[in-house]
């Protein structure tokens, strides 16, 4: 393979390039001292920072609603949530909170539908470790839904609305079970 001058030249240049690479990596290797850390990409940190900022914003926006909810004025909380939903359409947090309140008010099917919309927008609410997780509450509603909506759907197999309600319950069950999403 390395028979002539040109081969030897290429080999030398290859060795030079690899040495230069090793020196460069060695010079910029992180050694625990951030003063020498490259001011280059740390996308992971940026992503995490953006996520924490979003969580903080959600808390700021929705804490007044949650405070009213905890005080027992569920309908009042719902009115204020409607207002926020108009200002921030498509925000998953509105749907999730609405689902929670509707469940407390006894509107199970509407609660399930609202949770489904919220989770389709953001799966954070079903994650075990996420700061936004509402997994326990969603699991509780899903278990109730399987029992109550399930038995009504079974007793009325031709009822299209119950079939849709059951489809929503099945979706929540599937998301709670896990998988690649």
């Amino acid at each position: 393979m390395f028979k002539d001058r040109f081969d030897r030249l290429l080999l030398i240049l290859l060795a030079v390039a690899m040495s230069a690479l090793a020196v460069l990596l060695g010079a910029h290797a992180p050694n625990g001292d951030n003063s020498r850390a490259p001011a280059g990409l740390n996308k992971a940190l940026e992503q995490e920072t953006a996520y924490q900022a979003r969580v903080a914003l959600l808390q700021k926006l929705y804490t007044p609603v949650e405070t009213i909810q905890k005080s027992g004025d569920l309908q009042g909380a719902l009115f204020r949530l409607d207002d926020l939903a108009r200002t921030y359409p498509g925000e998953a947090h509105s749907y999730i909170l609405k689902g929670e309140i509707l469940h407390q008010l006894g509107a199970k099917e509407e609660a399930v539908a609202s949770y489904v919309q919220g989770i389709k927008l953001s799966g954070d609410y079903i994650d075990r470790k996420s700061p936004l997780s509402r997994r326990a509450e969603i699991q509780r509603l899903t278990d109730e839904g399987v029992k109550e909506i399930g038995s009504r759907a079974k007793a009325n197999p031709g009822n299209a609305s119950l079939a849709i309600a059951m489809k929503n319950v099945n979706y929540l069950q599937s998301r709670l079970a896990g998988g690649c999403e």
């Binding site: 389709k120 799966g123 470790k129 079970a177 896990g178 690649c180």
Partner: protein, 354 residues
């Protein structure tokens, strides 16, 4: 079938280990029913490399790295590493893309298909029928002269590039540079400890290289040779081990509803896996087998692997991937485009007898 043939037992052991580790990796932290899923792992790894921006699907899966490097080590040890390639490079690249499209619409590769089925997930049944149908269609194509061409020994060492790429990924895994992303939430945040995952990948990669194990290959051989096929026995060992471990670990939930990572659009499960089966036969192996072959120096398989990475990025970035809510319109379109691709390729790459 010769019971004294060592190769038979290597195939059976590979299958059994694949089924065992396929379940155990989920027990140890991987997502439910996704202890091993080549397509999901590729989507996660593509995300980790910044190829897409789904923050829930970004993690450099050590198993993937292990499969290729395990195959490299086994091939080198067995003097089977040979740089080869050069047959229909672009169709193979595009095939890799559509392999992932088909898997994304089903939500899982052929390995995950059977891991789901052996966990009692009846929604996988349509995928199984689709996969078998796709393999059958691929065999009909082969029988009628469809062929992408034979690769030749390559003196340029192009077969080294993909193993080097995965060696680079190993360095990324070990040293975690800032540009490699890692989800803090979602399914990509669920993983087995990296050392265990990497070890499992290396072991399976090595065994799969030795045994030539392939899920679609098993189906293909079963259709052609019946019970005489060693691969079929390996496949049965895979399914048997997976069922056993699923039941033993309490992960067996029989039914259609409430299954993890599953949707109820059975037609699209059928078509997605049908596409995967057909392409797999045409290019000589399922996604897992392509990884192993790329580790042996097969540059053609290497191109498929690169195509799969591109596919992994696209299915996330373009909203092609299915979810528990169902298959999005883009996913359906992508599968149909995949069928158009395979049919066109079959027409153009066919040796017709006079």
């Amino acid at each position: 079938m010769n019971l004294r043939d060592r190769h038979l037992w290597i195939v059976v052991i590979t299958g059994a280990l694949l089924g065992t580790l396929g379940v155990l990796l989920a027990v140890w932290g991987n997502p439910e029913n996704s202890g091993i899923c080549v397509s999901c792992f590729i989507e996660n790894s593509a995300g980790a490399l910044g190829f897409h921006d789904n923050p829930r699907m970004q993690y450099l899966r050590p198993e993937l790295i292990g499969f290729v490097l395990g195959a490299v080590l086994s091939a080198v040890a067995g003097r089977e590493f040979r740089s080869r390639g050069g047959s229909a490079p672009l169709p193979r690249l595009v095939s890799g893309i559509f392999l992932i499209v088909g898997c994304a619409v089903f939500i899982g590769c052929p390995i995950k298909l059977f891991l789901r089925l052996t966990a009692g997930d009846l929604t996988a049944a349509a995928g199984v029928i689709g996969l078998v149908a796709g393999v059958w269609a691929g065999l009909r194509g082969l029988a009628n002269g469809v062929e992408l061409g034979v690769h030749k020994q390559d003196q340029g060492g192009s077969g080294l590039l993909v193993p080097i790429f995965f060696a680079l990924l190993l360095l990324f895994l070990l040293f975690r540079p800032g540009f490699v992303l890692s989800s803090g939430k979602g399914s990509a945040a669920q993983y087995a400890p990296w050392a265990i995952a990497l070890s499992a990948g290396l072991l399976l990669g090595a065994l799969a290289q030795r045994s030539r194990f392939c899920v679609t290959g098993s189906i293909r051989d079963a259709l052609l040779m019946g019970l005489r096929s060693y691969m079929l026995w390996g496949f049965m060992a895979f399914c048997g081990a997976a069922v056993m471990w699923n039941i033993g670990s309490g992960r067996f939930h029989f039914g259609l509803f409430g299954q993890p990572g599953a949707h109820l659009e059975h037609l699209w499960s059928f078509l997605g896996m049908g596409l995967v089966g057909w392409i797999s036969v045409m290019i000589g192996g399922c996604p897992f087998r392509q990884l192993i072959k790329s580790g042996e120096g097969d540059a053609d398989a290497g191109l498929v692997v690169l195509g799969m990475f591109i596919g992994g990025a696209l299915v996330q970035a373009w909203g092609i991937t299915a979810t528990a809510a169902g298959v999005p319109i883009y996913g359906k379109v992508a599968v149909l485009v995949g069928f158009i691709f395979i049919l066109t390729t079959s027409l153009l790459c066919r040796e017709r007898t006079a």
